[in-house]
């Protein structure tokens, strides 16, 4: 039996890479429910976590799974769940509770064709807005989009880091292609990875307030069982963690939940850029789409259009500042995505009337036709 997390060069499926990323990040609790195309993550962890004295529990549904990872997180153990569309929809209430409690944990969504049961064995990128706004209310949130099994590993580690650093449930938004494709994945030894753990308070018992925080806007944890008697609630609460349903308290709390992400956006936003300088048109993509559109970029360049490439590794928080800046330098943006226009709406919002935006939609179950993307690039480049 393997007793530690594995390292080396592997030829593995994206879902397996994700599970190994969780292990490397220190996740020792998985609560989940089978669903295609995410089941392999659970299956891998059912095998691996017991080898590492971790806990794997298959729950009766996704509601219980999400609730359980909040419990594990609150008890001090890094926790995760993995699911797809219908499962995420069931988790949303508890995701909101996690946002309000500020419980670090990771939610992996291996997106399939939606809505409803949609295309269980095929892919989509249709839950992008759901990850941002799915649970009721205002809260800051983080979503990372891998384009390969390697990145599924890397970003799962990062997701845990952000969740611990900023204290919230963090999404990894993969899709059925990335989840099910098999590629080379390099897994470094754990001590070579940057692993962030939650900040435990060093204050004396009498001075500790569970939701008091400094300029970082992120409160410190107290370890369960260390006598702090700390508590948490989904009700609007004050620094003591006690319900306080006044307007004043609500304004302060909800703004902090949003601001702790907004004000730290620079640390959280990850992008990949090529040939942005001097570009007429910038193609913005994320996840698997950033690979399937490469031929379209090449074709458009052959036609003499200067096309830049911007890949959003972090989709939420949305890189507003970057898009606003770019908007004044280019003719416009082309956004192919496997939905009918979700992240594209954000680009449109930031570009305003300064630059043109063209969403290239696809509802899922297939990938963009190169011709459709080239056409959109041409339209943006040549429109008057």
């Amino acid at each position: 039996m393997v007793k530690s997390s594995m390292h080396g060069v592997f030829f593995i499926q994206g879902d397996i890479a994700c599970a190994e990323g969780a292990i490397a990040a220190g996740c020792r609790f998985f609560g989940g429910y089978p669903i295609t195309p995410a089941s392999e993550i659970a299956e891998r962890l059912a095998l691996r976590l017991p080898q590492l004295d971790g806990v794997f529990v298959q729950f009766e549904d996704e509601i219980a799974s999400m609730a359980a990872i909040l419990g594990a997180s609150w008890a001090g153990v890094k926790s995760m769940t993995a699911t797809s569309g219908p499962g995420i929809s069931l988790m949303l209430e508890n995701i909101g509770l996690g946002m309000m409690m500020e419980a670090p944990c990771v939610i992996v969504n291996v997106q399939r064709g939606s809505p409803s049961t949609g295309l269980p064995t095929s892919w989509g990128q249709s839950d992008m807005m759901q990850a941002r706004w799915g649970s009721h209310g205002d809260y800051g949130s983080i979503s990372l989009c891998p384009k390969s099994p390697q990145e599924f590993f890397d970003l799962t580690v990062k997701a845990f880091n952000y969740s611990e650093k900023y204290r919230l449930p963090v999404f990894v938004l993969a899709d059925a292609i990335v989840g099910h494709m098999t590629e080379k994945v390099v897994i470094p030894p754990v001590d070579e990875l940057e692993i962030i753990d939650r900040k435990y308070t060093t204050r004396p018992l009498s001075e500790y307030l569970p939701y008091a925080c400094d300029k970082s806007l992120v409160p410190e944890f107290a370890k369960a069982g260390n006598g702090y008697r700390y508590h948490t609630t989904g009700l609007t609460h004050d620094e003591r963690g006690y319900p306080d349903m006044s307007e004043e308290c609500h304004i302060k709390l909800v703004n902090r939940l949003v601001d702790k992400i907004r004000k730290n956006a620079r640390d959280i936003i990850l992008t990949e850029e090529h040939d942005i300088d001097g570009a007429d048109v910038i193609l913005i993509s994320y996840g698997i789409t950033s690979r399937t559109v490469v031929p379209a970029i090449q074709k458009a360049r052959q036609k003499g259009i200067k096309v830049g490439y911007l890949r959003l590794i972090t989709v939420w928080p949305f890189p507003e500042e970057k898009i606003r800046n770019l908007a004044s330098r280019v003719a416009g943006f082309v956004i192919p995505e496997i939905n009918l226009g979700q992240v594209g709406l954000e680009v449109e919002r930031c570009a305003g009337s300064v630059a043109r935006t063209r969403i290239v939609p696809h509802p899922g179950g297939g990938i963009h036709r190169t011709g459709a993307v080239v056409k959109a690039i041409e339209e943006v480049a040549h429109a008057k």
């Binding site: 429910y33 089978p34 669903i35 295609t36 089941s39 659970a42 299956e43 059912a46 095998l47 017991p50 794997f56 529990v57 298959q58 009766e60 549904d61 996704e62 219908p86 409803s116 049961t117």
Partner: protein
């Protein structure tokens, strides 16, 4: 030439897409035969689950709707209450019925909804590729119980008939098996009874089929039957638990 058996009218002409040796097909046929014999087809609405039988609406020749995973009894309740003149049945797997759908089945039974539930217990999640179900037997290896189901860790398999039999309202509860022609003939009787009570609007009727999933058990169809006989039948005892319509009334 004398015709002694034909395809029930309550099944479409489509060939089943279930794996060879899977008992889903047999259960479909029994339900369809009962619909024919009781002349219920034209007023029947079925609810297909999420699971291997998610395509049941292609096979049953009556009005059919899919439900979200586990919610068939709630959908069926909506149908029956909205249209009391119609007959309603659900067809559900074990993951569907006693994992994610536990609340819905218990509460539909407790309300005594006048619907029939047909429950396929194959001790595993078929559709999603062989994960552990709430009915998976102790020690049984599945993709999410790779070291064998440990009852100390995850509990004992849930017996749906016994669970529902603790409620006052259900009208008819029976567990049958589909492992041999004799057992299938017996199973047919239970299905007919449930449907008859359904037709008469008597109350909540529930039939559990001890079934096989050769594909995810990793056995051929005959071995699967033997495995089910040796391992499932001692735990999931065949028999009638409740028949309020029988002489002597409630058991």
């Amino acid at each position: 030439m004398q015709v002694i058996a034909t395809r029930p009218k309550s099944l479409t002409d489509l060939q089943f897409t279930y794996c060879p040796g899977c008992t889903h097909g047999i259960a479909h046929r029994l339900i369809a035969e009962a619909m024919d014999e009781l002349d219920m087809r034209n007023r029947m609405m079925g609810v297909a689950p999420v699971g291997c039988s998610v395509f049941a609406y292609k096979f049953f020749n009556c009005d059919m709707a899919e439900a979200a995973h586990g919610r068939a009894p709630a959908v069926a309740t909506g149908m029956k209450r909205a249209r009391p003149d119609m007959f309603v049945f659900t067809y559900q797997g074990d993951g569907d019925l006693v994992a994610i759908g536990t609340a819905e089945i218990v509460h539909a039974a407790n309300r005594g909804e006048k619907i029939s539930i047909f429950f396929i217990n194959n001790a595993i999640y078929g559709m999603t590729g062989g994960q552990m179900a709430p009915t998976t037997l102790p020690g049984m290896k599945t993709t999410t119980s790779p070291y064998g189901r440990d009852e100390k860790d995850i509990g004992y398999p849930i017996r749906a008939c016994e669970l529902l039999n603790s409620l006052v309202s259900p009208y008819f509860i029976e567990r049958v098996s589909l492992l041999s022609p004799q057992e299938i003939i017996k199973a047919k009787k239970a299905v007919l009874k449930a449907m008859q009570y359904n037709k008469e609007g008597r109350g909540f009727t529930f039939v559990e089929f001890v079934s096989t999933c050769p594909t995810n058990w990793g056995l051929d169809p005959l071995q699967a039957r033997e495995w089910a006989r040796e391992n499932m039948l001692p735990y999931y005892k065949i028999g009638n638990f409740r028949d309020k319509g029988a002489e002597g009334g409630e058991k």
